[in-house]
Subunit: 410 residues, 2 copies
Amino acid sequence: MSNFKFSTLAMKMKSSIIRELLKSTNLPNVISFGGGVPDPGTFPREILAKIASEVISDEYQVSLQYGQTEGDPLLREAYLDMMKNGEGISGLTLDNIMITVGSQSALDLVSKVLLDSDSIYFISKPAYLGAASAFSVRSDHHEYMELTETGIDTDALEKRLVELKDEGVIHKVKFVYVVPNFHNPAGVTLSLEKREKLLELAEEYDFGIIEDDPYGDLRFEGEPIEPIFKLGDKERVLLLRTFSKILSPGMRLGFVIGNERLLQKLTLAKQSADLCSPTLTQRIAARFIMKHDFSDHLKPTIALYKEKKDLMLSELKKRFADLPGVSWTKPTGGLFVWLTLPEGFDTLEMMDLAKEKGVLFIPGESFSIDGCCNSSMRLSFCLPPHDKIIEGVRRLRETVQEYGKRRGLL
Amino acid sequence: MSNFKFSTLAMKMKSSIIRELLKSTNLPNVISFGGGVPDPGTFPREILAKIASEVISDEYQVSLQYGQTEGDPLLREAYLDMMKNGEGISGLTLDNIMITVGSQSALDLVSKVLLDSDSIYFISKPAYLGAASAFSVRSDHHEYMELTETGIDTDALEKRLVELKDEGVIHKVKFVYVVPNFHNPAGVTLSLEKREKLLELAEEYDFGIIEDDPYGDLRFEGEPIEPIFKLGDKERVLLLRTFSKILSPGMRLGFVIGNERLLQKLTLAKQSADLCSPTLTQRIAARFIMKHDFSDHLKPTIALYKEKKDLMLSELKKRFADLPGVSWTKPTGGLFVWLTLPEGFDTLEMMDLAKEKGVLFIPGESFSIDGCCNSSMRLSFCLPPHDKIIEGVRRLRETVQEYGKRRGLL
């Protein structure tokens, strides 16, 4: 028994379903479509091993020492260069970028710097729960945005903003949080038209936009859509990027790009949160992107994930086409397929049976602060090898079949 | 101009004096006694370079991948072994230890999990400002404990606890925060007697003890005093340790040891704060302590810091013995000397002159939430090489001399 007296916040904290599920990931014979966990085969391990050894031997005065709270200046500069050359985003200085312990830490800092207990923020439904969880530490006043094939419903958003204005609380709206590319979990991408509309709304109703973009670089097909950050400006938009899905999640490197004054505040919050990010992983990443063409490095990763995505889609078609009322997204990038079963199916309840059958997914309910998407599930195709994708989808069909029969749904 | 609307918390955030000062650390010709920054010569760089290369090449599926929020099981186990063999602290399992991004992150998590806005916590005066800053994010209700040569004044603490009980708010006291060994900034060590007294008070008045111990392993002389954690139990005491001063701060490895239920809550808070600590630096550290005797590794570090400490003390004696009213601590471990000038000296105001003279220290005022220690300063002896310590103390004397004359104090 602990004699420590917990805070009200701590009493509210509950272990997430995803967290509990991922514990089963390492069970033998279980095929996991669960976590958004990269294929370790995509990590450039031999290059990183060599660089790590070099930066420790030769640059130990930096790579093993305390560093700036804002992050390694070398990495920040190299990253800005990459943005300039790769995406044409220019006009940024070291004051516009900081490095965090993955994007999750950035979300936590954003929450501290922008949210009061009565602040309102907008988040999609379903949503990336890590964001919802970081924000809800500081405020309970979330507003949902429904998702369509082209991302959040901006018309509905506008309607709700008008209502909030009429209610006299529009000034409490701090930001709209969006995952514009290959949304987690829904897989959809925000259209150019809606990005522009969102910027207009931000101007009109005076709120910020948090553009969380972990998957944008993992595009398999089609042309990239300009980041909201580029369409708008850094005074309105804070851009979050990460190396977790495209280099190595274990290095925990998130990038926060935005307005100087906001960055200063985030830096102060970071100072109190962890003093500074690990200098070692930052310097390794800096040397990696300075010496290697990042888009070359990404090509085999994109090819592999496209192959796995195609395989999962074709297996889903093979196994589920005959089941009326089952649908799934056809992502053109990212890591996830969002599969929806007919009404009456409860994917959370289905989990026990799925575990018995040896397949894991994340039930739709996990992607909401207060309930949604009971009949949906998120399937991640990036980690399992090809034969496991085939076998996993087979097991999933078996699970759905058996659960559906038991519940009289099929 | 940022269009983002900051939180009340963000509006209160101010850049710390330490932070601003440390920016001057890298100026040429400036000798810094400022940050508690280890001598990079103590980093076992060749061993770490080899291990880093190996764990990336051979263990990339762990070292570059997402890891458990609680931390690398291998490192947690190896650390518990070290505690058992080195300190005789046993009976702990993996559920009693988690790994954070340095101790600062642990302090932030402790703050989230234990403090409500009306919670009371006790902290020394002067205090490690990183702790004060993490706690004050959640509560403004700090109570100060004066420091003596043997650590916090437990009699005064008891008196204040009685008052709080009489006022009917004793249940709001969540914890007493102590740095028991070689206190930052004061350099003092909490006596065995007072450790036991503190535990008695914790039982009687039902609060927790946060034992933050970054310096305990850096003992130059005398016998170690048992950790409060060992004298008491994990239900009352949460122990924070770190590799920042004894292996490498850039690896950002903090260890939190305590009760299972408290650790569970801290883990949930960490999940929302950064998902997991970097797996790479954790695995490197795990392999390091599994293959190398840590106390052997520490011997040259301790010898070096003792030498520097002795040098600083002898130089202080040489330069300041003739100045009446000047005193300084004689640390038997850690990184800091706490020097106090006669009344009337304002070490913060003295900073500009010190910079001109080319020497840096941290003014006493920096170690308090709302003012204290104006005539004191913290001097760190660990980073500058021997000749710079000699020259730095000479410049310090010059600064004090000149400032004192200008102000009519000498």
